[in-house]
């Protein structure tokens, strides 16, 4: 399935890009599975596994690692927020 991936803050810098469009093989249908698949692609994406307290959002809403992802979703990965 086609997914839009976004990276923010330190994760964006480590991975060296703000986002990418990917084609995820069928079967991996949660945020955690997507994270693991991305990390396996290398190119700095291993940081998704080593990042402390990795957070995610699916379609611009905070989501847990067990949240489902579906074709066409926008999935973002980032460190804990520090605004305010």
């Amino acid at each position: 399935m086609a997914l839009k991936i976004l990276y923010f803050a330190s994760l964006r810098e480590t991975i060296g890009r703000g986002g990418e469009t990917i084609d995820l093989p069928d079967g991996a249908a949660t945020v955690a599975a997507l994270r693991d698949w991305l990390a396996g692609q290398g190119g700095g994406r291993e940081a998704l596994l080593t990042a402390k307290n990795l957070r995610a959002a699916v379609n611009q809403k905070m989501a847990g690692m067990d949240a489902a992802v579906a074709d066409g979703d926008e999935v973002a990965f980032f460190p804990p927020v520090t605004g305010g």
């Binding site: 460190p79 927020v81 520090t82 605004g83 305010g84």
Partner: protein, 162 residues
């Protein structure tokens, strides 16, 4: 007027506070909060003896940010009786002493206004997609999330003002 704004520009807290109650006969109380870039916190990151405070930059997740703030305000409205609410968060490069965030809540009574204002700040700190990066003489440094912020947000789930 928008309820939430994410912008590079500074804001006028006095004008925002006045707008929260203008022509609203039921608004008797406005609680508000202004957060600023603390110069001394930036200074802690100095590396060399000549290290001077630089600045801070705020990154966000365009699109999600406004939605997340609107959702936080909606939750506050579900818990307390509120009149107008206003949230402004700046992004981009900010110097020490500059304003970062404004939260203003108008209500008929001060208890609701205070609680909702603090709730919105606590939730914003842990649920709105902003990230701070400090400039230091040794380079940029992403600010770590604080456990005290998680604790502050969590307490509304236990004893929230219902």
């Amino acid at each position: 007027m928008n309820e939430v704004s994410v912008q590079e520009a500074d804001f006028d807290a006095g004008a925002e506070i006045a707008a929260l109650t203008a022509d609203d006969p039921q608004a008797g109380a406005v609680a508000s909060f202004v957060g600023l870039v603390r110069a001394d916190k930036l200074a802690e990151q100095k590396v060399g003896a000549d290290g001077t405070v630089q600045a801070m930059s705020l990154e966000h997740y365009p699109g999600m940010t406004e939605q997340a703030l609107a959702e936080i305000v909606a939750q506050a409205r579900g818990r307390w009786e509120l009149r107008r609410v206003r949230v402004i968060h700046r992004v981009g490069r900010l110097l020490p002493g500059e304003r970062i965030v404004f939260v203003g809540v108008a209500s008929g009574h001060r208890g609701d206004a205070f609680a909702a204002c603090e709730f919105i700040m606590d939730y914003l700190k842990t649920r709105a997609p902003f990230w701070k990066k400090e400039e230091t003489p040794a380079g940029g440094r992403w600010v770590d999330a604080r456990e005290t912020d998680d604790a502050a947000a969590l307490r509304w789930q236990v004893s929230g003002g219902d």
